[in-house]
């Protein structure tokens, strides 16, 4: 295994993937730092242009954007009090007060070091844990895959946001859209309305670019009157050895929290960051000072969210189950590269997968170098006019959806998906479940078809295999815990509303 990893590093350098990784991290930091642009969007825009590339090269780019993007969010969190990505939401709490005290440089150094170290720990866990999980996953037959897909879909309730019902509705719509086109088992064309364009289904990529890139740009148009924010000044970038020792335990602890949170499908980098922040606040000696600008409060969430990036790739690579939006988009990219995500990836393409692991490890070194040396440059980028960026996203979204099949149908899909995504998000209808449904729907259906064939139509097969029981337990646990959670949340909000009314 170590041999595989060393080969991965070798291939990373030899194939030039390291250059792709560098570009990815660099672009990622810029995308992450610009408020409104997320790592997810960056990956979505990039995918069409990776078509035909060496898979290791393309995946290194994506890994770079993902890791760089989650780190980059902290730059705007610290300098302009606006998290560049949702993952940096917790970083604002102490990062901005630090910057106001005139210590923006220190805050940036802490976030860079914490992101790199947290990410490194996460990447090492990914590298050594994922192959073990894949070994178990190889034992899965079609029935297990059906339940695995259902388990992934049950996570919709987590990703759903405010209303679970709305999340499930979006998820079902996604699955239903995925059934358009030729049926995987019998080969019969479904719901195509005689349209040739629909024979292979609504392709994933235009939908994905629309939902995650064009929708953002529409929001940019909406907010085009908002003035650009003044940013804090950076003096000296760096921290002392003593300060490093103060934040180190929090970085390590948050890295484990973040990786674990990421590995559980359905949770994301923002949750990892807030959990890490909460734990650091609870356990730190100066916990009461959190929120006034302490370095621990920057280190913990930044370590947690970058570790989470790597944790989130564990279920994606080993099981083919995306945990949240960014990995769902990455999974789409993986499929377009002709790779079937899941345990077989480890058997059939060990070189690709270990090069990716080498990338995840190396990406943290690049974050450290670029972050410490380039902080002033990235701060300058924040002053780019958002109106220009909005138009650029539109143009890239359009040429991206053209690049794959060169047809106008895909472009219309992108534009309409973008507009609908923009409106639906505003009305609390979350978009990620739709994507989850689009990706997991075919997985569930084709394996259900195979299960029926191997069991000769006997559905009790889902209850006679031990691994199936494990999944039933996981699914039940997820559903029940989410129902109780959302009940509690709605009761609390009801009480709050009641209090407000009684105040009136």
């Amino acid at each position: 295994m170590v041999q595989y990893l060393l080969n991965g590093f070798g291939h990373l350098v030899q194939s030039g993937s390291i250059f792709a990784l560098f570009i990815g991290v660099f672009l990622g930091i810029i995308i992450g730092a610009l408020p409104g642009l997320t790592a997810t969007m960056g990956i979505a825009l990039l995918i069409p242009f990776t078509y035909g590339m060496d898979p290791a090269y393309a995946l290194s780019l994506m890994v770079g954007i993902f890791a760089g993007g989650i780190y980059g969010g902290s730059i705007s969190a610290i300098l302009i009090k606006t998290p560049g990505t949702p993952a940096a939401g917790a970083t604002v709490l102490d990062g901005y007060p630090l910057a106001q005290k005139g210590q923006a440089g220190k805050a940036l150094a802490v976030s860079t070091i914490a992101s790199a170290l947290g990410g490194l720990i996460g990447a090492l866990i990914l590298t050594f844990l994922a192959p073990q999980i894949a070994k178990i996953a190889v034992l899965f037959g079609p029935p297990e895959y059906v339940l695995l897909g259902v388990y992934g879909l049950s996570m919709i309730s987590y990703v759903a946001g405010k209303s679970m019902a709305k999340g499930i509705l979006m998820g079902c719509l996604g699955i239903l859209i995925s059934t358009i086109g030729i049926d995987p088992i019998s080969g019969f064309p479904r719901f195509t309305f005689g349209q040739l364009n629909l024979l292979n289904g609504l392709s994933l990529l235009p939908v994905l670019i629309g939902l995650f890139a064009a929708a953002q740009a529409f929001e940019g148009v909406e907010k085009c009157n908002e003035p650009q924010v003044q940013q804090a000044k950076i003096k000296k970038i760096g921290i002392s050895g003593k300060e490093f020792l103060r934040i180190l335990p929090h970085i390590v602890k948050s890295a484990f929290i973040g990786t674990f949170v990421g590995a559980v499908p359905g949770t994301g980098t923002d949750i990892a960051a807030f959990l890490s922040y909460g734990e650091a606040k609870r356990s730190a000696k100066n916990g009461a000072e959190f929120g006034t600008g302490v370095i621990e409060g920057v280190a913990a969430p930044e370590s947690g969210n970058n570790a989470c990036v790597n944790g989130a790739m564990i279920p994606m690579f080993t099981l083919g189950i995306p945990g949240e939006a960014a990995t769902a988009v990455m999974l789409g990219g993986l499929m377009l590269l002709g790779l079937q995500p899941g345990p077989l990836l480890f058997r059939d393409n060990p070189q690709v997968i270990y090069t990716v692991f080498a990338s995840t490890i190396t990406s943290n070194l690049l974050i450290l170098i670029l972050g410490l040396l380039g902080a002033r440059f990235f701060a300058k980028v924040l002053q780019l006019p958002t109106k220009l960026i909005t138009t650029m996203i539109f143009v890239l979204a359009i040429i991206g959806s053209y690049a794959m099949r060169n047809n106008a149908f895909d472009v219309s899909v992108t534009i309409i998906a973008g507009f609908l995504g923009y409106i639906l998000t505003k009305a609390d209808y979350p978009v990620p479940p739709l994507l989850l449904g689009l990706i997991l729907g075919p997985l569930v259906e084709s394996n259900l078809g195979r299960t029926v064939i191997i069991s000769e139509g006997n559905y009790s097969i889902f209850f006679t295999r031990p691994l199936c029981w494990l999944f039933w337990a996981l699914i039940l646990y997820t559903v029940i815990s989410n129902i109780t959670k959302s009940r509690r949340a709605s009761r609390q909000s009801g009480q709050k509303a009641g209090r407000e009314e009684s105040h009136e």
């Binding site: 069409p48 242009f49 019902a165 709305k166 499930i168 509705l169 079902c172 699955i175 239903l176 059934t179 049926d183 088992i185 019998s186 019969f188 479904r190 719901f191 064009a214 529409f218 148009v221 909406e222 907010k223 085009c224 009157n225 006019p385 109106k387 220009l388 909005t390 138009t391 650029m392 539109f394 143009v395 890239l396 359009i398 040429i399 959806s401 053209y402 690049a403 060169n406 106008a408 472009v411 219309s412 992108t414 534009i415 507009f419 923009y422 409106i423 505003k426 009305a427 609390d428 209808y429 729907g441 569930v444 259906e445 259900l448 078809g449 029926v452 064939i453 069991s455 000769e456 139509g457």
Partner: protein, 152 residues
């Protein structure tokens, strides 16, 4: 600013889910019968649309029952809607007319719509941006950009 109640969208999507239920069941009635011990093309979409309809009815009932006055507010609605149509025009004519001609026009129009700067700067920015994208994508990455009437 355009503003509409979230309730209206809830009601609409509730009705849509029922409409989809009918569409899927009617269309799938004509799907070929599966062989023995085969799933058949109709089963899975039917299960999904049934779940969809149940959730849709739930959302519909909630929207009817509870007074929820939350609204979806779109500031600059005119600009957003205009940008949608401009984008649609750009997307649909890009192949015919070509990237190099249509893109600077598209960017300039959008920048004008968002009041980016004066006409000269808008035009200059749009041309420079187009050139930048052309160099990065066409020349460096050899991504095929729609050529249109100019053949390059």
């Amino acid at each position: 600013m355009i503003s509409f109640k979230v309730r209206w969208l809830d009601l609409f999507l509730g009705i849509l889910s029922i409409v989809l239920l009918f569409i899927v069941f009617i269309l799938s009635a004509s799907f070929p019968e599966p062989h023995e011990a085969q799933l058949g093309a109709a089963v899975f979409p039917r299960i999904v649309v049934l779940v969809l309809a149940v959730v849709g009815v739930y959302i519909f009932a909630q929207a009817m029952g509870k007074k929820n006055n939350a609204t979806v507010d779109i500031n600059n609605a005119q600009k957003v809607i205009l940008s949608f149509f401009i984008l649609l025009l750009y997307g649909l004519f890009l192949k015919k007319i070509g990237f190099i001609i249509l893109t600077p026009i598209f960017i300039a129009v959008l920048l004008f719509l968002m009041r980016f700067s004066n006409v000269v700067i808008n035009l200059l920015t749009s041309m420079l941006t187009t050139a930048g994208i052309y160099i990065i994508f066409k020349i460096l990455l050899s991504v095929p950009l729609p050529e249109g009437i100019l053949r390059f």
